[in-house]
Symmetry: C2
Subunit: 228 residues, 2 copies
């Protein structure tokens, strides 16, 4: 991060344009709504009633986050639907292009896909003023996906090692789609693009950000027992 | 209610069999899970992003209730999945038989169907000891269905009066299916059946209970602008 942007406490100054805050909260609010939608759909593929209830609870937690982001947007004088609207097409296209065909693919997507997205939002939120940075970090807190998905996927691989290869391919497809789609979203939204450029400082900074995100992705794949 | 069952504070004594409490909390826990599921599905039919978010928030609230009921079942030493399992077939059959084909049918089902179910559970919960009675009343609190559904359905009827006739037929079909299915559920679950028989006192008591439930149903239909 460009040191000149920092205040004494290490946080960025408030010269971040309000447009960038609204864009980040808007894309995140819609991301939570689609996460809800997708987890609700995945819960129907659960092989057990306990698994179904567990994934339904995660879906509900996403709506709790969505409500917090909507409330903040209202505070900023912006209708949440207006803030979300510019991002619906791109996020819907991502989800339509990566529709899980099984319970395990759904879990890998929830863990690997949401983990990747959360890392990205967290990196960008680091450039925001304190209250919004804290809000983004709070709503990105793990809603229980992690432990649950890791347990279920590892158990499935133990039962049938052949699934590991297929799920590893699926994980790579997810990360590819996610990176392509997010570059397109950033390119289309000036305030967000400027926030990232200014925040990272220069191209080397952008490279480091991407490096951190892909390393964390590889760790998550390994945690599932999958080859990154 | 048979007066001899009441304590000084007007609540039933604790001679209610534990099996009946577990059966009622179990059926209700599964009802909340299916309500979540169904509202999540309905939210995708929303004509606006605001409507979609509103229904998704209602779905999330149902999972909050589900979590409270599951926690109570754990306290009673019963696995929630074990308590829910005996009711999944009947509730799934009800929902499969009354799948809304439009956004408005979904709203009528959420308001009229859930209202009817809530009235029934509340009537039965009145026969339970205080802590469980209070829990059931709490989880049956309106999660915002009512006002939202009434506004949307009334606005749709103003825009196109012809929908009122079709939705009224749909409402009557819902109540018919609900009564048939719930009679079957009660007949199959001895503890629940005995709780209702003892609680209402006699056949006249059962008749009064059904009378209260159908009167409340008619009021809800009228609130939507529909002929009961």
């Amino acid at each position: 991060m460009d040191r000149s942007m920092e205040t004494v406490d290490g946080g960025p100054t408030s010269d971040v344009p309000a447009g960038a805050v609204v864009e980040l909260l808007g894309v995140l609010a819609y991301a939570e709504l689609t996460a809800f939608d997708r987890l609700a759909e995945d819960s129907r593929m659960a092989p057990t009633l306990a698994g179904r209830a567990a994934v339904a609870r995660m879906a509900a937690a996403e709506m709790g986050h969505h409500a917090r982001l909507s409330a903040r947007l209202h505070e900023l004088g912006v209708e949440p639907t207006a803030a979300m609207a510019p991002f619906t097409a791109a996020l819907d296209a991502f989800h339509d292009g990566t529709r899980p065909s099984s319970w395990l693919e759904g879990l890998v997507k929830a863990y690997v896909g949401d983990g990747l997205a959360a890392d990205f939002y967290r990196e960008v939120a680091a450039f925001l003023p304190a209250p919004d940075r804290a809000l983004v970090e709070e709503v990105l807190d793990d809603t229980g996906h992690a432990g649950f998905a890791v347990r279920e996927v590892r158990a499935a691989i133990v039962a049938d090692p052949a699934v590991a290869g297929r799920l590893a391919l699926w994980g790579r497809r997810l990360v590819g789609e996610a990176l392509t789609r997010s570059q397109a979203v950033i390119a289309e939204h000036d305030a967000l693009a400027e926030l990232i450029t200014t925040g990272t400082g220069d191209l080397a900074g952008v490279g480091e950000l991407l490096g951190r995100i892909t390393r964390a992705h590889s760790e998550r794949m390994r945690a599932l027992g999958l080859n990154p």
